[in-house]
């Protein structure tokens, strides 16, 4: 049967923003006789940045089992050199994609028997389609590493080889199942049955949290790794002699540390358990390889660095897939700029938004009763018609009574401000912690806006103060928008649409004694009706999404929501153009 081809729609969107001529590499998963192309990288013309990113090792940054699978040409390029296909391991029939900026047309070829054969039909799939077929698995492990005289690299390699030989067990806490390589009875079971995922996986959109962890809109299954310390009978690889002790007397510096593995795999729901085991092993090996590479750079600079490099996962939205980076200990957004710039270019991400700053890293370890992220996702298309213009990215929902702090009746604007700052944090613009009420008051005193008695008081603040604090703490520009009455709010919808489409930041609105956060607007051209997506900081309950949605603490409001007798001031934070 001929190989089927599927291409993630994000690739097309990213291609539209590229230069007119370029060459690059394609990465995808081959499963069930289908090649799913998930991402591409572009070759850079500048020779100096080629040192930073090695395009063939870039697959280490991708979840296992995504492999280098083909070549990309944009516009008129020189004819493809078949030699390059030799580096492709996952298939004998590598892919060649030709894309034209002018016609927005894509042609695909498989390289079969040393000839390019045109692919007549291929599927463009969305991220949702992808999540129906594949699931992310995050495997975690911590193990001690012991090395002599700075030989951390060798020790890392040693443990990688050991794991590569398959000597691990995998525990899925989700339904408390174990997977070992020798499990013959389970060998042919499919992942979806093995983890009993099939049905629940589809309808998890309103937060049945025990099944999936929806954080930053990534469904992840957690797995814990166990290291095997025994051998099978008749196995070739193991040592055969009885335990001995090799005692070496010499002075040296001994190094001890914990290696934290945090590896991603993207696995087909129809993968067998045996395949699943192999993919998880591969993902861990990729993780250790990245740590090795970063440690290699690190130890060149300083002889002994204080910490091992740190694994972080990112999900640049235009990519539609997860991306793993290992940052050296003590890296800052400034000293990783060069690398991040190269990465943006390679992945055809523009340089106007941060994608790989530390703040962009996905926070997986969100516990129950922790502050909710993007509650509005649960009702996005409910009860609204027409075009939606919504906050762009992630924010967390700050409201009354959180952090055991009683601000009921006066703290709403403070909370709205916190929500805005959370957006700047989660988008990677800033690393400052969410300021407490006291910190906010301190800031206003420091800039001379308020007398020192203000600190510790229960005085309200309004949109002007919110603007001052944002300008001071984040060094960003603020636009102020006013409505002389609630009725005028509808007239401002075009301006709000423009804000959400270009800036995408949450808006703080103050009117009368109340402050709210506007997360988006809808506008139905046919009826001329517009609605406002409101996040209400006056909520005093627990972080329980169904309550928040059902009781309307986060929800679509008509223009009647605004009081006719109140004057409204809106604070529109402007997104800095940085990466």
């Amino acid at each position: 049967m001929a190989l089927q081809l599927q291409i993630l729609s994000n690739i097309l969107q990213r291609l539209e923003c590229t230069e007119t001529t370029a060459t690059g590499y394609l990465y995808g998963i081959l499963h069930n006789n289908t090649l799913v192309v998930l991402t591409f990288t572009l070759n850079s013309d500048e020779s100096e940045s080629e040192n930073i990113i090695d395009y063939t090792t870039l697959q280490l940054n991708l979840p296992a089992d995504i492999y280098f699978c083909g070549i990309l040409h944009i516009g008129e390029c020189e004819e493809v050199n078949p030699d390059i296909f030799k580096d492709i391991d996952i298939t004998d029939n590598p892919l060649f994609l030709k894309y034209s900026q002018n016609t927005l047309d894509m042609q695909a070829y498989f390289y079969v028997h040393q000839k390019l054969e045109a692919v007549n039909y291929f599927n463009i799939i969305s991220e949702d389609d992808l999540s129906q077929q594949f699931v992310y698995i995050k495997s975690q492990a911590t193990f001690p590493l012991i090395a002599q005289d700075g030989n951390i690299l060798e020790a890392l390699q040693e443990s990688r080889k050991n794991i590569a030989s398959g000597k691990i067990g995998i525990h899925f806490p989700l339904n408390n199942v174990y997977l070992f390589r020798t499990d013959e009875s389970l060998k042919d079971r499919l992942l979806k049955d093995f983890l009993s995922l099939s049905k629940e996986h589809d309808k998890s959109s309103t937060g049945s949290n025990n099944i999936n962890h929806i954080i930053g809109l990534v469904d992840i299954i957690h797995a814990n790794i166990l290291l095997k310390i025994s051998s099978e009978k008749n196995s070739e690889e193991s040592i055969k002699y009885a335990p001995v002790l090799q005692h070496i007397k010499q002075s040296f510096d001994g190094l001890e540390c914990n290696v934290h593995i945090n590896a991603l795999s993207l696995v087909s729901l129809n993968a067998t358990s045996a395949e699943l085991h192999a993919i998880v092993v591969e993902s861990i090996c990729r993780n250790i390889r990245l740590i090795e590479m970063q440690q290699g750079l690190q130890s060149k600079n300083i002889k002994l660095s204080a910490k091992l490099p740190e694994v972080m996962h990112f999900k640049p939205r235009s990519c539609g897939h997860l991306f793993t980076i290992v940052f050296s200990d003590g890296s800052t957004n400034d000293n990783t700029m060069e690398y991040r710039k190269a990465l943006h270019k390679a992945l055809a991400l523009d340089l106007t938004k941060p994608s790989f700053r530390r703040g962009n890293a996905i926070q997986f370890n969100i516990q129950a009763n922790e502050i909710l992220v993007n509650p509005h996702q649960a009702l996005l298309h409910k009860g609204v018609a027409g075009k939606l213009s919504i906050v762009d990215g992630l924010y967390s929902y700050h409201h009354y009574m959180q952090n055991n702090f009683d601000d009921n009746g006066w703290g709403c604007a403070y909370r709205s401000l916190q929500t805005i700052i959370s957006w700047f944090r989660l988008q990677g613009y800033t690393e400052i912690p969410i300021p407490s009420h006291r910190k906010i008051q301190q800031c206003l005193v420091d800039i001379g806006d308020k007398p020192s008695a203000f600190i510790g008081s229960k005085q309200w603040i309004g949109s002007t103060e919110v603007s001052f604090v944002l300008q001071t703490l984040l060094n960003i520009d603020i636009k102020i928008l006013c409505a002389s009455s609630g009725e005028e709010m509808s007239a401002l919808i075009p301006q709000l649409i423009c804000h959400f489409d270009t800036q995408g930041t949450p808006i703080m609105i103050g009117g009368g004694v109340l402050a709210h956060t506007i997360l988006g607007v809808s506008y139905d051209e046919s009826s001329g009706e517009g609605k406002f997506l409101i996040l209400d900081p006056h909520y005093t309950g627990t972080e329980h999404l169904p309550t928040i949605i059902n009781k309307g603490w986060c929800g679509w409001k008509t223009r009647d929501f605004w009081r006719k007798d109140a004057f409204y001031n809106m604070c529109l934070p402007q997104r800095p153009i940085i990466f």
């Binding site: 911590t142 525990h171 095997k228 335990p243 010499q250 002075s251």
Partner: protein, 469 residues
């Protein structure tokens, strides 16, 4: 409900054979305990103190002089029981038992109903206490005390009658009745096998007052024991609920094996794997730098074989396997440090030493598949194992019964030749010398092979020529 102790019929004959008209024989009851039931695998009389034996060397230090004076082939009266000697015997025997089996108690054979006399009872209780203390104090890695209940079996050599009682050592110390049953049918045992791979580096910090080598080995032992304790035991690829019967896995395995290939000749043992969890307990990723004076690498494969009675649960099996591994490592390391004549730390110069603790051999008990262990130092042969078997377990076995190939002896060359990156300068000469030896050897083999081939060729040509003519 009291305890029931199951012993196989031949053991009755053994007790009867120990009878002395005017004296007593004390010995150990060995077996497995399962709640209110005990399964006895063997009875071993305590050898008389101070005879020329393998035990002597190792026991002499811990027995007091007065007890040695009462050296006799048997004990004249119960009050003469050499308590510490019996306790030491228990310790040595424990080393030979597979995990999950212990010294369950003592038996006494004498020309009376020994337990009718309170003084006798007191003496026997003290013996049990001494055994308990020896196995807990400083010897916890031998895993010799799994429970506080110990048995006393008294066998009247005149009437052939026996009485069995048990005491709870750490509690009231009161004798309670137990039901000892000799039975015709043998206890069925599940056999579990595991091969544990060690390859770990231990750092020895540079210190003004360095720990002795023995202490360093003890630290390694503790660290390994903790690791094994934390591990997950997987039987035939299954984790199973702790309360599930081991039998369910055994049966399933038999069925699947039968369908697949009947010629399978491994005697129905269950293969066990061990996995260590890598939980995110310690989030610290700082690199700790210690200035070290030495390193010890523990490397090699430990073979574990354990036996579980037929009704054992998965939790029982899991514990027994872990005990076996720790007990076996503890036994051989202890024998090793006891055998070291001089303290290695004395020599300050840099060097590589390969320590070869004795390796495990297994000996099957007569009429049972349960195997006991002995440990042989490099150069020792199976006859050494037979000697200790005779001394400590009162067992006469044939050399052929010793399974001496379960664990193999390491090739020391491999370790001395190892081209360690860290001490290239120090050992490069040694290493190259070794390499040269190897290559010379290889060339010889190669040349020999080549010349043989050549001779064959010439012969073939000659024969061919002759035939042609």
């Amino acid at each position: 409900m009291g305890r029931t102790i199951y012993a196989e019929e031949p053991l009755r004959a053994y007790l009867a054979s120990l009878a002395k008209p005017d004296g007593y024989v004390i010995g150990l009851i060995l077996g497995q305990s399962a709640g209110q039931k005990d399964y006895v695998v063997h009875l071993a009389k305590t050898p008389p103190p101070l005879t020329k034996s393998v035990v002597e060397e190792t026991l002499i230090s811990s027995t007091s002089l007065e007890e040695q004076d009462t050296a006799n082939t048997y004990i004249k009266s119960v009050k003469d029981i050499p308590i510490n000697w019996v306790a030491d015997h228990a310790k040595h025997v424990t080393k030979m038992l597979p995990g999950g089996m212990w010294v369950l108690g003592v038996f006494i054979v004498g020309p009376e109903d020994t337990l009718d006399n309170t003084n006798n009872v007191q003496k026997l209780k003290s013996t049990l206490n001494a055994i308990y203390k020896t196995l807990s104090w400083n010897n916890k890695h031998l895993c010799g005390n799994s429970q506080d209940e110990k048995i006393i079996l008294s066998f009247n050599s005149i009437t052939q009658k026996y009485v069995c009682k048990y005491v709870e050592i750490n509690k009231d110390n009161i004798l309670k009745p137990a039901d000892w049953k000799f039975q015709e049918k043998a206890t069925r045992w599940h056999q579990l096998e595991a091969l544990i791979d060690f390859d770990r580096l231990y750092l020895i910090a540079a210190d003004k007052n360095p720990e002795t080598f023995k202490k360093q080995l003890q630290n390694i032992l503790t660290s390994v024991a903790d690791l094994i304790e934390s591990s997950l035991v997987v039987i035939e690829g299954e984790v199973g609920a702790p309360d599930d019967a081991l039998e369910t896995i055994g049966k399933r395995k038999k069925n699947s094996k039968e369908c697949k290939n009947k010629k399978d000749n491994n005697n129905n043992s269950l293969q066990v794997s061990l996995y260590i969890p890598c939980e995110q307990s310690d989030t610290n990723s700082c690199i700790k730098v210690t200035s070290c004076s030495a390193s010890i690498r523990l490397i090699g494969q430990l073979v574990s074989r354990t036996f579980l009675h037929q009704k054992a649960s998965i939790a029982d099996a899991s514990m027994a396997v872990k005990q076996d591994i720790v007990r076996s490592l503890a036994s051989r390391l202890e024998m090793h440090w006891d055998s070291l004549i001089e303290e290695e730390n004395g020599s300050p110069e840099e060097n590589i030493t390969l320590h070869e603790p004795p390796r495990r051999v297994l000996i099957a008990l007569p009429e049972s598949k349960v195997t006991l262990s002995d440990y042989l130092f490099p150069g020792e042969g199976p006859q050494e194992a037979l000697l200790s078997l005779q001394e400590l377990l009162d067992l006469k076995a044939q050399e052929s019964q010793v399974q001496k190939e379960v664990e193999l002896q390491a090739d020391p060359m491999e370790f001395y030749c190892q081209n360690d990156v860290n001490n290239k300068s120090d050992n490069s000469t040694d290493a190259t010398k070794c390499k040269r030896q190897i290559s010379v050897y290889q060339i010889t083999v190669y040349l020999t092979g080549l010349s043989i081939a050549l001779i064959i060729l010439i012969l073939a040509v000659l024969v061919h020529q002759l035939l042609m003519v």
